[in-house]
Structure formats: C-alpha cells, structure tokens
C-alpha cells in the first residue's frame, strides 16, 4: 500500500494563472499534467512538493493544429492517445504517431501527455524505487546524497532519459515554447535537455512547457523511431534510435542538413550523432553508408548498468538499431 504524500492542489484555468502560481510557489511547487510518472515518484517519496499545479484545466493546452506553411503545433497537455488519433498527425507525421504509440500502455497513453513525456525525469534502477527499498543504501546524487551506485566513485549522476517522443521530435526539428510570468521563450527541443541526470531539462522553476511545434515535412523526407525493450509493449526503452533522411532519385539527398540520427536511453539526454548528415548525403542508401554512421553512433555512447539490458548488449545494439531506423526512414521517404 503506497499512500500519496500531502500537498495543496491548484487547478488554474489559464496560462497566466499558471504562471502566477509558479512564481508564487517556485521550488515548492510541481506541475502535474497526466501525472502517470509524477504520482509514482510521489508515492515513492522521490518527489514531495508542497503544491501541485494541475495543467489539466488550462484552456487551449490540449489543442493540435496543422498549417501547411507553419507546420504542426501541439499543446503540451495533449494526451498521447489523442496524438495517435489526430488526423493531421496520422496523415503528415505518421512516425510521431508510431512513436507516441510506443509509450506505456493504452491506459497510460489515455492520461499521459506529450509535455509530460518530453519532461520525463531521468530514471535509474537505484533511484526509481520505494523509499523503503532505498533505505538499504546510502543516498545517491539524485536523492541528495554524494555517491553513485552505478559508477563507483562517480561525482555525477548517470540516470537515463527515456522519453520516446523526444528523439523523433528532435529528428524532425521541433521547437518548444516555455512560458512564465515574464513572457515566453522558444528553444529547440535539443536545448531543452541539459544532459544532467539530476536536472534533465532546462525548464526553470517559474516556467512551464506550453507548446511543441514541428516544421512541415520537407519534400522527400522520411522519419522513423525504433525502440528496443524487453517486452513489445508497456516498457521503457533500453535503447532507441530516431532517424530522418531525405531521398532524391533513389539516393540520399545531397544536403547534409536533411539527415539527423538521435540516440535515446543511452545517456541522461537524447544524443544526436554528429556528422551523420555528412556521412550520408549523396550516398546510395546501402549498407556501407549506414554502417559508417552506425559505428560512429556506437563509439559516441557509453550506456551504464542502470536500466534493463546490460551496457554491453545495449552498446552492441546501437549500430543495429541505427541501421534499422535509417532503413525505415528511407522507406518512409520513398513511399
């Protein structure tokens, strides 16, 4: 039996009200959208905020709009289930629909939101446990201590980022809007992630993520997200790869910026494979070209023993999944 800790609940009706509650309570408050992740952390006493500010009554935060010129805009509180059922997403961004479908179970997707999945806290075997379980070891960096149970002697936290919608949205060049009492700022989705296991995203305590926008799909481009997990449903990724390619006359397009490969769940943030565009642009979409990127990707990550799958296995699977993702993206671009 796991009881929730006590808190005061606020359900603002507008973005402005949300911002003023955040500036009033600051660090003492947490935002709750779907709550499918936060409520578990609270039951495990990983998070015990004095105030919970709910985003579920904020007007307009669950809207999805598509415009041919400006692209897709999604409110941060749109549920993953509505994403998978939204006509413009099914039609123009099928890979995003598929990635959203790979999160959790039917029940989770009916409540969990896109903003929540992007702002998912980093995870670790030694962190995501009950307070009772954690009592048997000294506290780790992420629980306010000074040790790491994963990498002995480490001064930093290696908790893993596992959100499945982030890599595909990064591959598509998404931007996110952060709102606060002082206004709003728009940053690229890649900039949202700090790479710090303790504080994985750049949302300040007085800010909230309000909108995610994606440019219109470029002609000849295709994207895909491949997820590796123990069971085919429900589980968090033990590794994932998102890829975007651009095809032209049966070969990869000549502009390097038409390509992006993003690795997931191998570090504290999604990792973009550097130079993927240069390695792929203008090549025939065959094994040799894919292999080069796959090996660079493998060399760029160092999975740790903090989630399912041994680090050796996950690292070996990096090139395999990179090639799968690129092949799938190329097929999507050609269809």
């Amino acid at each position: 039996m796991r009881r929730m800790p006590r808190f005061e609940y606020h359900a603002p009706a507008s973005a402005g009200e949300t911002a003023s509650l955040l500036s009033e309570y600051g660090d003492a408050a947490r935002l709750i959208a779907g709550g499918t992740d936060l409520l578990i952390s609270m039951k495990q006493r990983l998070s015990t905020p004095e105030h919970l500010i709910s985003l579920s009554s904020v007007t307009g935060l669950d809207a999805v709009d598509y415009d041919e010129k400006t692209g897709l805009r999604m409110g941060a509180a749109v549920t993953l289930a509505s994403l998978t059922q939204s006509p413009p997403i099914k039609d123009k961004y099928p890979a995003l629909e598929a990635a959203a479908r790979k999160v959790g179970s039917v029940q989770v997707r009916n409540i969990a939101t896109l903003g929540g999945n992007l702002c998912l806290d980093t995870r670790c075997w030694y962190y995501n446990q009950s307070d009772y379980w954690r009592q048997s070891r000294p506290p780790c960096h992420k629980t306010g201590g000074e040790v790491c149970h994963v990498v002995e002697g480490s001064k930093r936290c290696f908790a893993v980022y596992s959100g499945d919608t982030a890599p595909i949205l990064m591959a598509m060049g998404a931007e996110v809007k952060l709102m606060s009492g002082g206004g709003e700022r728009v940053i690229s989705l890649g900039e949202l992630f700090t790479g710090d296991g303790l504080r994985p995203n750049a949302v300040e305590p007085h800010e909230f993520l309000s909108e995610i926008s994606v440019p219109p799909p470029a002609a000849g481009s295709g994207v895909a997200y491949v997820k590796l997990r123990l069971r085919e449903e429900v589980d968090f990724p033990i590794m994932g790869v998102a890829a975007r390619v651009t095809m032209s006359d049966g070969a990869f397009g000549s502009a390097p910026q038409g390509f992006k490969v993003v690795l997931n769940a191998v570090g504290s943030a999604p990792v973009e494979v550097e130079g993927a565009g240069e390695m792929l642009a203008g090549k025939a979409p065959e094994q040799a070209a894919l292999e080069e990127v796959a090996q660079v990707a493998r060399a760029s990550v160092h999975p740790q023993a903090n989630t399912a799958g041994t680090p050796e296995y996950r690292r070996m699977m990096v090139p395999v999944l990179v090639k799968h993702a690129l092949t799938e993206a190329a097929a999507a671009a050609s269809s």
Binding site: M1, R2, R3, M4, P5, R6, F7, E8, Y9, A11, I32, G35, T36, L39, I40, K43, Q44, L52, S54, S56, A81, G104, S105, V106, Q107, V108, N110, I111, R231, E232, E233, V234
Partner: protein
C-alpha cells in the same frame, strides 16, 4: 484541506469531501466501498485498478480524485445491465474460463470494454496489444483473448 467534489460513478452522482492527495482508486474503494476495483502494484504497471473515464480505460491508482469531477466513471460494478444479467464480456469470461484467481479480471474486462467500444472487431493481435497494460499473474491470457473474441461476436 478537504475539497468538495462531485463524482459520477456508475451513473450515480456522489458529493464527497476528499483530500487532494487521494487517488481515484482510494476514493472508489474506501469512500464508495466499491471494492471490485483492485489495487495491485499501485505504480501503473499492472492494470488491476483500471476503470473507465468518459469511456476510456485509465489507471485509477495514478489519477487524483479531485481531477475526475465532471467525468463519467464506470467501475466493474457498473458494467452489468441489472443484478441478474451480466454484461456480454462478463458472460464470455465466465463461459471461457477466463477467470482464475480473478484479481486482474475487473481491470481486464473494463480494458476490453473500451477496446471493443472503439474497435468492435479487433484482430487477435489487436486484442493482445489492447490488453497489454493488464497483467494476469495466473497467466491465463489465452482464455482471456478467447473470451474477448467470443464477446465481440456475441
């Protein structure tokens, strides 16, 4: 401080004073005494606490009760049309031996109800994916899938 909420459960509206940290599941079981909704893992993994919220299957252990005002909630107690007539899904579960210990059954049946409401003729694969958020520790999945298939043609 307790908040006054009105919860619509199985077609009946209940005016309740609840603490904001109470989950929908705790309120259903402990305030409304509807114990058909089970508490399994309490962390969103097992699906035993599944209820319908506006027709969608959700995990009542991961929802705050204060958030569920104005929604129509259906628990396993609200599924049968009357006291002496089971819902076709319940009937099929009984007839196909899809119940062993019974602990996962309310959650599985409600998940199946939401599935059949949105997709009246799912394939076997769609059923398997559809109920993947519900764990049966007796591992009676084959019979469960048979029962759902029987209910869809009933």
């Amino acid at each position: 401080m307790k908040q006054l909420i009105s919860l619509n459960v199985n077609g009946e509206t209940h005016e309740l004073a609840v603490f904001p940290w109470r989950t929908l599941q705790e309120v259903i079981r402990e305030e409304l005494k509807l114990t058909g909704t089970k508490k399994g893992c309490d962390t969103g993994d097992c699906g035993a606490c599944t209820v319908l919220l506006d027709g969608r299957a959700v995990l009542s252990c991961l929802l705050l009760a204060v958030r569920c005002q104005d929604a129509e909630i259906v628990t396993i107690e609200g599924l049968a049309e009357s006291k002496d007539r089971l819902h076709p899904l319940q009937e099929a579960f009984v007839n196909h031996g899809a119940i062993q210990c019974g602990f996962c059954t309310p959650g599985v049946i409600l998940t199946a109800k939401a599935l059949l409401d949105s997709n009246p003729n799912p394939t076997k694969e769609e059923i398997r994916v559809g109920i993947s958020g519900n764990l049966c520790r007796c591992t009676g999945y084959a019979k469960i899938i048979e029962a759902i298939q029987a209910a869809q043609s009933a």
